[in-house]
């Protein structure tokens, strides 16, 4: 899937995650994840993997994903990445 612009979805609210997806020249999916250190220390690896996997499932090959987490659960992370990608097409 070809991205043409930056798409953003989600929110900074508690329990949500603000995801921005932008087209990238270099191959692969680059992820920049920020959030509360107490969550990133224990779930950072899993959140990155989920972002990666969801983008791949959407057929995205090259992208830069910036995510600001505020305690989102997996269903929210997946939904927000999908919405951001949909808006970036």
């Amino acid at each position: 899937m070809k991205l043409t612009k930056t798409g953003e979805a989600g929110a900074a609210d508690s329990g949500d995650i603000l995801v921005s997806v932008a087209p990238a020249e270099e191959p692969g999916i680059q992820i920049e994840l920020s959030g509360k250190s107490v969550i990133l220390k224990q779930f950072g690896r899993q959140i990155r993997e989920l972002l990666q996997k969801t983008a791949a499932e959407c057929g995205v090959e090259n992208a830069r994903i910036t995510a600001k987490d505020n305690g989102a659960l997996d269903f929210t992370i997946k939904a927000r990445v999908r919405a951001a990608i949909q808006r970036a097409v």
Partner: protein, 519 residues
Amino acid sequence: MKNVIGRDIPEYIEGYGEVRPFKGAYASIDSRTRTTITRRSVKPGNKLEPGETKLLASIEEAVKKTGLKDGMTVSFHHHLRNGDYVTNMVMKVIADLGIKDIHVAATGIFACHEPLVEYIKSGVITGMSVNYISPGPVAKAITKGLLPKPAVFRSHGGRPRAVEAGDLHVDVAFIAAPCCDNYGNINGTQGKSACGVLSYIYPDAQYADQVVAVTDNLVPYPACPIEITQDFVDYVVQVDSIGDPNGIVSGTTRVTSDPIGLKIAAAAAELIDATGYIREGMSFQTGAGGTSLAVAAEVKKRMQAKGVVGSFGAGGITAYFVEMLNEGLFRALFDVQDFDLVSVASAGSNPKHMAMSGSLYGNPHNCGPVVNNLDIMILGATEIDTDFNVNVVTGSDGTIMGASGGHNDTAAGSKISIVVTNLLKGRLCVLRDQVTTVTSPGETIDALVTDRGIAINPRRTDLLEKLKDSNLPIMDIHELKAIGEKLAGKPDPVEYTDRIVGVVEYRDGTVIDVVRQPR
């Protein structure tokens, strides 16, 4: 070495000393020798000359008079909470005089004590011990390992025990005094910085080598009523202000309006009722948080419905407990601190509203603290594990964010201790395989009431029997953990260095756990 609850603790900790390992909540209740101290005699007047004047011109003069020097321990109380000026003022004088290597034995540390971080960095403060610490700059500095010696975390009962036993020897106690006369009689309930009872510092008045009262409300002799009497006070210093009233008490403490908090509270009250603890003469304590107060509101309804009168309410007092006292639902209150204006006023005027010292509250090594008479205790938790061990000291990433306060004292003493909490806090499940830092051992925690289910400690077969026909959502604690983990996922383990930044003492002075610096 592993202690009886499987926590890995060295036999000797640099900057702390020999470790007495935790052996069980009720394992060390035996006779104890109290420490002896040497106190100065204040020179009396004779028929021709006046006696010694206790009133000094400044904190600096007091520090010099006491002979405070490198390596000593100074103590403070936290009844002025996040409005306290005295700790910062005294430490500034100590720093300006070039004194170093000070141990700060504060009953509590708040965000307002941020200036202490500079003194930690410059070597003025090298050790600390607290029974309460709020998440903030000092807690962060300790987590980061800036303090050369590990901080010691005690309970509200454990600290007076340590002071009386000589484990915590205080060279000079600086007592913030909302009301004081020129001969050192003190109360906490009068004046522009009134904060209520001064319970946590009574042991220091009795066992410190020297005692300095710092007041912004010097009244003609004698102050009345008197909480801490003149025979324990060496010097009196008058300053412009000892605290910021906005940080000292909240205008109001109130029951939560969050429907989930109310649901947890209603379930906790039903549990208390179903297990037979709503009865004539019952005693009851909660924290001052919104959900805890909501439990009090639900318990009150059930007391009224049954027409029972309780013997006492205890702990940190709020307007809600004062109201219950005044409505005749309790015969008395035992008070260790006052959270709002209504409770401060009540503490100073109602004889049924009694101050209790930290030792009377929770010290296991005396002829019996009030927690021994407590029926029902409502507690909070940062984490709880499947053995019912509770952590209130660190977050799940090892960041220091609290201390026992009365947690492990009341959990051990009460007939039923109930932890009330949301199962999920953000993405973090409160229930873990092992808590990060044990504060209260699982053998003292009887029930966990959450928004997604209730677990009863399997040791309490008596409770399980009484609850067997209950409609409450009672389940095995592992099952409850599975519900939380299904939503939040299973956390990756946090990595720690070998550096010990905190020692958690159980109320009896044994070491129940240590806090290691996160990587």
